[in-house]
């Protein structure tokens, strides 16, 4: 995937024969072994590896669940209980999968906000970044449809509320909703198509992830200083340096993941979803999963249905325009004292929106949601463009190495040429 020509030379005769026909070993070598990595990356840069781990974990646990799950409105709830009670370690697989969705979003939000903070979305990484936004949208669709599958009360009513949003689209809205439902209300056909799509989308995510990694390996990784690698001394080879750091970070994340799975497996879900779906009884509060709450708050902040839907979708699509809305020449917020304050204000507003999304849409909650929604969009449409002109950034270091010399005298980095063989002796 790397643009850097590989120095990989197969050792065996078979290796030479194979490499001249399919140079996959060279591709892997240049992408994941010799690939130059800025030497000053923090643990915020390990979330890419953590996300790959989560995607694989979700697919593996999901494939096993699908062996026992029955996508039928009359049997789905029962089949989930069968998995929980009678299938060997079924409870473990299901709790891994259900909590895995939340962990996936924890990791992706950290990944996204790391990108916001260090300006990773700016040139030359715009395509890489927009591919990331597409992955996020696919993740949301997958998670939403996955939550419908157990066919509990919140599954059913969440599906009803969210699919109904499409009816706000003028002219074709009702037709679209009928196609989504496969009928005139959420029912068995809806469950069938959601199951099918829930199984399909993760593989589409995997495809876009490959493009995302490919696009990453062209300009290389951003780093906390935001300035590019200028010499071999600024970088280290991916393997073993980034690999061992990523593996360590993934294992620490697994600890966090395991805590939820084994000790609080239902904390992040809703009690209502242990009540079988009942079209005749509406839950008092229909609340989406925590990772959708900020967007749900934006949806409900707008009194008009179509307006709310547009605002909710825009709240994510506006991310795609960030590389051009942000007029600052400096990538890393570390050198942007004014923007740093706005960044944390934005984080606070997003968390507040999340909390407001969990509240009933009444009284001052609505007003607070509206204020936060206005600020959310102002951050992109006013703060980002204006700050680039008015802010006086701190002076940037000349190189990554120079920046980190204040922390520690740099030893040997990448050998000259930046993509030579990694150190082979310990």
């Amino acid at each position: 995937m790397s643009e850097h020509p590989t120095t990989y030379v197969p050792k065996s005769a078979f290796g030479k024969w194979f490499e001249s026909r399919l140079p996959i070993a060279g591709l892997i070598h240049s992408s994941f072994i010799a690939f130059p990595v800025p030497r000053n990356l923090t643990y915020f840069w390990t979330f890419g590896a953590i996300l790959v781990f989560m995607l694989v974990s979700q697919i593996v646990t999901g494939v096993f669940l699908a062996m026992y799950y029955t996508p039928n409105a009359a049997l789905a709830f029962q089949s989930v209980e069968h998995i929980m009670r009678d299938v060997n370690y079924g409870w473990l697989i299901r709790y891994l999968h259900a909590n895995g969705a939340s962990m996936f979003f924890v990791a992706v939000y950290i990944h996204i906000f790391r990108n916001f903070y260090y300006g990773s979305y700016k040139a030359p990484r715009e395509v890489l970044y927009i591919l990331g936004v597409i992955i996020f949208l696919l993740m949301m669709a997958t998670a939403f449809m996955g939550y419908v599958l157990p066919w509990g009360q919140m599954s059913f009513w969440g599906a009803t509320v969210i699919t109904n949003l499409f009816s706000a689209i003028p002219v074709v809205g009702d037709t679209i909703v009928s196609y989504l439902w496969g009928g005139y209300s959420v029912g068995n056909p809806t469950l069938n198509r959601f199951f099918s799509l829930h199984y399909l989308l993760p593989f589409m995510i995997a495809g876009v992830v490959i493009l995302h990694i490919w696009a990453l390996h062209v300009p290389g990784q951003n780093n906390p200083t935001g300035i590019p690698i200028k010499s071999g001394k600024d970088a280290v080879p991916f393997t073993p340096y980034a690999t061992i750091k990523d593996i360590f970070a993934v294992v620490v994340f697994m600890l966090f993941f395991a805590y939820w799975v084994f000790y609080l497996p239902n904390y992040l879900g809703h009690a209502d979803n242990y009540i079988p779906a009942n079209p005749a009884v509406t839950p008092a509060h229909i609340v989406p999963e925590w990772y959708f709450l900020p967007f749900y708050a934006i949806l409900r902040a707008i009194p008009d249905k179509l307006g709310g839907v547009i605002a909710m979708i825009s709240a994510i699509l506006i991310w795609c325009f960030m590389p051009w809305l942000d007029t600052s020449k400096v990538r890393s917020t570390a050198y942007r004292p004014l923007y740093k304050q706005f960044f944390w204000l934005f984080v606070a507003v997003c968390i507040l929106l999340g909390w407001l999304g969990s509240r009933p849409a009444e009284g001052w909650y609505v007003i607070a949601s509206q204020i936060c929604t206005v600020y959310y969009f102002a951050h992109f449409l006013i703060v980002l463009p204006v700050l680039g002109f008015v802010e006086r950034p701190l002076p940037l270091p000349n190189s990554i190495l120079e920046s980190v010399m204040g922390v520690q005298k740099g030893g040997a980095g990448m050998p000259a040429g930046a993509n030579a063989e990694p150190h082979s002796k310990g």
């Binding site: 030497r39 000053n40 990356l41 209980e81 009670r85 409870w91 473990l92 709790y95 009360q153 200083t225 280290v236 073993p240 340096y241 061992i244 750091k245 360590f248 294992v251 620490v252 600890l255 395991a258 805590y259 799975v261 084994f262 000790y263 609080l264 497996p265 239902n266 904390y267 009690a271 209502d272 242990y274 009540i275 009884v281 839950p283 008092a284 509060h285 609340v287 400096v330 890393s332 570390a334 050198y335 909390w355 950034p393 701190l394 002076p395 940037l396 270091p397 000349n398 120079e402 920046s403 980190v404 204040g406 922390v407 520690q408 005298k409 740099g410 030893g411 040997a412 150190h423 310990g426």
Partner: protein, 293 residues
């Protein structure tokens, strides 16, 4: 018609555990043997709770996801195989069709699930004022109460996940005289902890209603009071809702321990690897260099 609507409204509320804070009192938190990272069920309590379920709740509420054999499995009440076999045989289970094409009834076997108390949902509703009593298999996970800020954060650290059980105990002991001026609609019952206070289920438990096994001194194993019945039957329902709770917590400890050791080893491996290039350097210098951008 009006009466039916009122009851329907009362029962409707029962399936809606999320309610605005302040409306309903917060259930007190009980001490459960199964709480915390090393929690296990109290076998004797589960056996007593099962007795309460069987003699009181079972006349209206099903337990459809639980099989008789589960009662003998590890991590539950752990009745003996023989006890479960005898218990199952007391139930009549519909089976068939036989070779002649007829449905027939036969004594239950350990592999059977608890039979439903009513032949179908309509029959259950007709016998109970218009709404079928809910199945209890998952009740301890299907009910909760609002925790609110900041408790929902501290709950993560103290591993508080017995919300449903605490609510069930509160509900079962929460029957009392309505306060002056409170109009309880016909067919409803006043309950201190039920959202909206009007519940269709009449007070199910009273002191001395269920006889508990005696100890050597000839005294009941536990007090035969409403409060004790409520706790015991709730513990039993916590097990029916999460029959693998003990296995989960046990495996969890092993997994956490393994990951902790592994992450420690990886940490030092990483340190050693990075030492080849003069150690790890992270982030950026503060304050930044005094060069111009």
């Amino acid at each position: 018609m009006k009466r039916t609507l009122l009851i329907a409204a009362a029962v409707l509320g029962f399936s809606a555990p999320v309610f605005a804070a302040g409306e309903t009192p917060v259930p007190p938190q009980q001490k459960w043997s199964f709480q915390g990272p090393f929690g296990t069920f109290d076998r004797a309590q589960l056996q007593r709770g099962f007795k309460v379920y069987r003699e009181v709740c079972a006349s209206c509420h099903g337990l459809s996801y639980v099989a008789f054999r589960n009662l003998a499995e590890p991590g539950g009440p752990e009745f003996s195989e023989a006890q479960v076999k005898a218990l199952a045989a007391e139930y009549q289970i519909q089976d068939g069709p036989n070779e002649a094409g007829d449905m027939f009834e036969r004594p239950g076997r350990p592999a059977d699930r608890f039979p439903e108390p009513f032949p179908n949902e309509n029959a259950a509703a007709a016998a109970n004022g218009g709404k079928a009593p809910p199945d209890l298999s998952l009740m301890a996970k299907a009910r909760t109460y609002e925790r609110g800020f900041p408790w929902f954060i501290t709950d993560v650290f103290r591993q508080y996940s017995e919300n449903g059980a605490d609510y069930l105990v509160a509900l079962l002991v929460g029957y009392e005289e309505p306060p002056a001026g409170f109009q309880v609609p016909e067919g409803g019952h006043y309950n201190h902890y039920y959202p909206g206070h009007v519940i269709a289920m009449p007070k199910p438990l009273s002191d001395g209603q269920v006889e508990y096994p005696k100890n050597e001194a000839g005294q009941p194993q536990a007090p035969e009071t409403v409060e004790q019945y409520a706790k015991d039957v709730t513990a039993f329902l916590a097990w029916t809702a999460e029959p693998h709770l003990e296995a989960r917590k046990r495996l969890g400890f092993q997994v956490m321990l393994f990951l902790l050791v592994l992450s420690g080893l990886l940490y030092f491996t990483k340190k050693k690897v990075w030492a080849r290039v003069g150690g790890e350097v992270e982030g950026h210098a503060t304050p930044p260099m005094t060069h111009n951008p």
